[in-house]
């Protein structure tokens, strides 16, 4: 009996191996109809299922939209070859991200990689790409350390290191807000922790008193105990790094607690998204946030992108979509300039990038310990009458900052 079991075990394992080998031919993805033309493959790894799927889907849509535009303009044909996007789902899990990266590099022989939403998965993809010597252009993953390793194959254009999201904010703080005390709350994720760390560091340099500093686990129903505790310290300004829905709950519950500050500033992520306004309702009014992008930013094409996306997919995109859209343009630009499609050739072309996108000018530079990292342009925005307005830097402003904001009870 033991024997039959073991033999069937072997058989099963072999069958399993054969199946894998079978997919090895790469036949699972039906060849495109225009396959006669040779292609340059670009692997894109995004979370299409799992907890981050919402953003993965938005980024995939945006890239496809950009691709169609480029194609219409004839820019997807580079050096006689057609750019082909190969999307892989990382299931919001890093095992799958690793598998996807391995598959794209080794099986599909992609010329370069892109994608990467969560910091964790971006880390794994970057590690794989670096050890294989394949260029990887990050879309969203913003952990500081990804571009701090000195990894030559990793490029980050449309995303800032998490601790640099606050660039424009400091200017605003120095010139207008001049707070004596700040409170920091942040989700205990990679992005939240890095952002808070960056903010804390600058506060200390500037001698701003941090009166409250706490991390929380995302997905809570009730933030009031933490907020009540924070209210007691009476900070001039609150700086909060939160996911979309935590952000709206925090705003709402601050209102419920009648917790007034001179200004509430979100650290990108949740506080700029349409879902934030929808859920927080009037509690979103006057909430400010740093951000990398908003639809009415001055860069050419930004508003068009927003409009087109909304028409096509029936939903408002946020800066994640813009990142993906701009990334597609960077890819097409770099591949268009590349002398050959070897990894080194593409790496060189990427390095020489100097492109204007809807995210602003993109260049890959080495600075402050970062490698191949674009110097981000950041903005401070504020919700005013249910619309997101740029309030800083002043030259890009679409509205004037309301500061200090009126107390909850003084609002209509």
């Amino acid at each position: 009996m033991k024997k039959t079991l073991s033999i069937s075990a072997v058989a099963l394992m072999l069958i399993g191996a054969l199946i894998i080998a079978g997919c090895g031919g790469g036949k699972q993805q039906a060849p495109k109809t225009e396959a006669k033309k040779e292609t340059v493959k670009v692997g894109v790894i995004l979370p299409l299922t799992g907890s981050e799927a919402m953003f993965g889907a938005m980024e995939k849509n945006s890239m496809e939209m950009a691709y169609e535009e480029l194609k219409a303009a004839g820019k997807t044909t580079v050096g006689g070859k057609e750019i082909e996007l190969k999307f892989e789902d990382d299931q919001s899990k890093q095992d799958a991200a690793k598998a996807a990266a391995e598959k794209l590099i080794n099986q599909d022989k992609v010329a370069m990689l892109s994608g990467g939403y969560s910091s964790a998965n971006t880390n794994v993809i970057a590690g794989t790409a670096q050890s294989k010597g394949i260029p990887f252009l990050i879309v969203t993953g913003s952990a500081d350390k990804i571009t701090q390793q000195g990894w030559q194959w990793i490029f980050r254009g449309t995303a800032a290191p998490a601790s640099k999201y606050t660039g424009a904010l400091w200017d605003l703080i120095d010139k207008v807000i001049k707070p004596k005390s700040v409170a920091i709350i942040y989700e205990n994720t990679d992005f939240g922790t890095s952002s808070a760390e960056g903010f804390r560091k600058v506060c200390k340099e500037k001698g701003i008193n941090i009166v409250f500093d706490q991390a929380y686990e995302k997905g809570a129903i009730d933030f009031k105990p933490m907020l009540a505790n924070m209210k007691k310290t009476n900070p001039d300004v609150v700086f909060a790094v939160s996911y979309v829905m935590d952000a709206s709950l925090i705003a709402k519950q601050m209102k419920e607690l009648d917790f007034n500050t001179k200004l509430f500033i979100g650290g990108a992520a949740g506080y700029t998204m349409p879902e934030f306004k929808e859920n927080a309702g009037d509690a979103s009014e006057y909430v400010a946030s740093t951000t990398l992008w908003i639809p009415n930013v001055a860069w050419k094409g930004a508003a068009d992108y927003f409009k087109k996306y909304k028409e096509k997919y029936g939903k408002e995109p946020d800066y994640h979509g813009a990142q993906a859209y701009a990334t597609m343009y960077i890819i097409a630009d770099a591949l268009g300039r590349a002398k050959d499609f070897t990894p080194a050739g593409i790496q060189k072309a990427l390095k020489e990038t100097d492109l204007m996108t809807i995210m602003g000018p993109i260049k890959f530079e080495d600075w402050e310990g970062y490698t191949n990292q674009d110097k981000p342009t950041t903005y401070v925005v504020q919700w005013q009458k249910g619309k997101l307005e740029v309030v800083w830097p002043e030259e890009a402003a679409s509205a004037k900052l309301v500061f200090p904001v009126p107390n909850w009870k003084e609002r209509k």
Partner: protein
């Protein structure tokens, strides 16, 4: 002092919400003795039904609840009848494969929701979503208070149902000793089907009450499943009153933990209490009243 008061009030209201979700689970666990990891997913389905009612027909979540509950009752009955009850008859090495079946159900429900509704965050903003009243300088959320009292009412109704009706008594008999109940002529498979249905309907009620003040996306279930377990064990499996006490204990413990330790560690506080009760009071709070 007002900080302490505010913390406790938040805890009590939050506890009421937790309790409502947990009542369904404690009923199911009490009768079937299985760990139902799909419970949160059932809450999620209930929330989506209420959400659709709101978006399509403008029904207030409190009314949408009346549609979501029977719908979930039906879904629960089907799951129990055609899936879990099938397993009870099967001779497997580990009875825990029932748990794994609920994991499968959870995956299917979650991914179906994702296919239909995408992963987008949804929310229902009603006029009263963030309305409050103040006692001294302590703020009290109105929808949470309403939810709290509805939770209490459901618990009381369930208690009446379990003690006053024949069906309720059959459910209790099955919970106490399945074999003995069968000898006494109780149709145990049917009772478990109805129990699972009621448990699911209560999960839907909990979800609907949370909808105005929370939000919704396909993976939301995970948040609730863990809480519901903790409360079920704190209160004692199968005890509706225990679920209320368990919910309040967890709510208050989490709030105090968030205020006085750190928001990041509040879940640890809940889990530690959970472990302590498991070890030193294995019957939950229910066993205290029996002595």
């Amino acid at each position: 002092m007002s900080l302490f008061g505010q913390t406790v009030i938040c805890g009590i209201l939050l506890g009421g919400m937790y309790a409502l979700i947990a009542i369904g689970m404690t009923l199911i666990m009490g009768v079937m003795k299985i760990i139902n990891l799909a419970h949160g997913a059932l809450v999620m389905v209930g929330m989506y039904i209420t959400y659709v009612c709101y978006k399509s027909w403008g029904l207030d979540p409190y009314i949408g609840m009346l549609i979501a509950m029977p719908a979930l009752f039906l879904i629960g009955c089907l799951i129990q009848r055609y899936m879990i009850n099938r397993l009870v008859e099967v001779d497997s090495i580990l009875p825990e494969n029932q748990v794994l079946l609920t994991v499968g159900i959870m995956l299917v429900l979650t991914e179906l929701a994702r296919l239909i509704f995408k992963s987008d965050y949804r929310s229902v903003t009603t006029g009263y979503s963030s309305s409050t009243f103040f006692v001294g300088d302590m703020s009290i959320s109105i929808p949470m208070t309403v939810g709290f009292f509805i939770a209490m009412a459901f618990t009381y109704l369930l208690h009446l149902f379990l003690t006053r009706t024949d069906l309720g008594r059959s459910i209790r008999a099955t919970a106490q000793d399945r074999n003995a109940a069968i000898y006494m002529g109780v149709n145990a498979p049917r009772v478990t089907v109805i129990t699972f249905g009621i448990g699911s309907a209560l999960a839907a009620a909990g979800g609907s009450l949370l909808l105005p003040l929370f939000y919704l996306w396909p993976d939301i279930g995970h948040l609730f499943t863990a809480k519901a377990f903790i409360i079920t064990i704190l209160g004692g499996m199968g005890s509706t009153m225990g679920a209320i006490f368990g919910g309040l204990t967890l709510g208050i413990a989490e709030s105090l933990g968030a205020t006085y330790i750190s928001m990041g560690y509040k879940d640890v506080v809940g889990l530690v209490i959970f472990l302590l009760v498991l070890l030193f009071l294995p019957g939950g709070f229910k066993s205290l009243t029996k002595r």
